[in-house]
């Protein structure tokens, strides 16, 4: 789907708006909804996914020519699961607090359709360098949307932004809980559609 004329810069920026994985492609909904209780949580989940995306994209583009076509999906999943395990061990060692907050959703990066989707649609057909940039671009787009959703939910739900409290009181608790996740994502998508329709 990507054409050859796309510059290195476009590889990185296309994930931010035009091919935004959350608002346009609707991929990776589970971590998007579950981990965005605050801006910081959204940001860390985005960066964790970015890490796996870049590395698995690079590894898969390197091994793709020698992987038999029939077993390519299982092979890709094992590659992705390996990097997720590396990430789990690194996070347990260096950021145990964040690891505990994000919990289950770190191992679940394995089944995040963004990662397998990029492996299948881009990394298996492009060079290692381009695949790394593609992973970086899509990962940044994902991180950006998760941070925005987290920020909106944090402002409405607890009256703070990135942990900095600027409103007194508790805020509307529902926005930090499950219903808020669906509502905020739904309304942000409406705004995004409006913006895209205007352009």
């Amino acid at each position: 789907m990507e054409d050859k004329t796309m510059s290195k810069f476009q590889l990185i920026t296309k994930g931010l708006v035009k091919d935004n994985p959350t608002f346009v492609l609707l991929l990776g909904m589970c971590p998007t909804l579950a981990t965005t209780t605050s801006a910081v949580n959204g940001l860390s989940m985005g960066l964790a996914t970015l890490f796996v995306l870049v590395l698995s994209n690079m590894a898969i583009s390197a091994i793709a020519p020698v992987v038999p076509d029939k077993v390519h999906i299982p092979v890709y999943i094992v590659v992705i699961a390996t990097f997720v395990t590396i990430l789990q061990l690194l996070m347990q060692a260096f950021t145990p607090g964040i690891y505990a907050t994000l919990g289950l959703f770190i191992p679940l990066i394995v089944v995040n359709c963004i990662v397998l989707g990029r492996a299948e649609a881009f990394a298996s057909k492009h060079s290692v360098g381009d695949s790394a940039l593609d992973g970086l671009g899509v990962g940044l787009g994902f991180t950006l949307s998760l941070t925005v959703i987290g920020l909106v939910r944090e402002i409405l739900g607890s009256g703070s932004a990135f942990g900095w409290k600027f409103l007194p009181g508790d805020g509307m608790l529902a926005f930090v809980m499950a219903p808020g996740a669906f509502l905020v994502l739904g309304y942000l998508m409406v705004l995004f559609n409006k913006y895209l329709a205007k352009k």
């Binding site: 909904m29 299982p74 390996t82 191992p107 679940l108 089944v111 509502l183 309304y187 409406v190 705004l191």
Partner: protein, 199 residues
């Protein structure tokens, strides 16, 4: 008493979609018709229960004795992928009509994060269910998995019913499709929040 608590808690209080955000992609993807929604729910129910049984035993008798817990993510996803494939082959032979009915949903279940999520949850988290906090035994784990998948089915069928009505309405342009679906789920999740009073 404990059995009842496990069932109520898994279906209503901690509903897998509306409170835990697992399995959202197929939830949004196949819920536009009641018939496909119930087909998918049946397939998921089958695979979640079976996958939890197998991964629980794998974890207890293979990974834990050899100190290989860090391989959980990789081992579980492989088991689930193999299991889904196997279920597909068996169903094709034993009950072609059910196989036909489930159709494309079966292979898709591998990447349904609800399956991996429940499998990881039951072996890593402590649950209470009216008793002191403890790791689940095999029977409890399988019952919990089964009840959770019933909760998935309930949420799916409810939402599919809502969406069938929604399709007949004149929805503003930027709300059409996923945004309005997400907002509907948000309201549904709010209703389910009421159940947390039971716990």
């Amino acid at each position: 008493m404990e059995i009842l608590l496990i069932i109520v808690s898994a279906i209503f209080v901690n509903n897998i979609v509306l409170a835990q955000f697992l399995g959202i992609c197929p939830y949004l993807g196949v819920s536009s018709k009641l018939s496909t929604a119930s087909g998918m729910s049946a397939a998921v129910c089958f695979v979640i229960t079976l996958a939890t049984l197998v991964t629980y035993l794998l974890n207890k008798y293979l990974l834990l004795p050899f100190g290989l817990e860090f391989l959980q993510t990789i081992a579980f996803i492989l088991v689930i992928a193999a299991l889904v494939q196997m279920v597909e082959i068996v169903l094709k032979k034993v009950s072609p009509s059910l196989y036909q009915a489930l159709g494309i949903f079966l292979p898709l279940i591998t990447t349904n994060c609800a399956v991996l999520g429940v499998a990881i949850n039951v072996v890593t988290k402590e649950f209470t269910f009216g008793l002191p906090s403890h790791m689940l035994g095999l029977g409890e784990a399988v019952l919990y998995a089964f009840a959770t998948s019933l909760g998935y089915g309930l949420a799916m069928v409810l939402f599919a019913g809502l969406r069938e009505h929604l399709a007949l309405n004149d929805v503003p342009k930027s709300f059409r499709g996923v945004p309005i679906a997400l907002i509907t789920v948000g309201i549904l999740a709010m209703a389910f929040m009421g159940f947390s009073g039971i716990a």
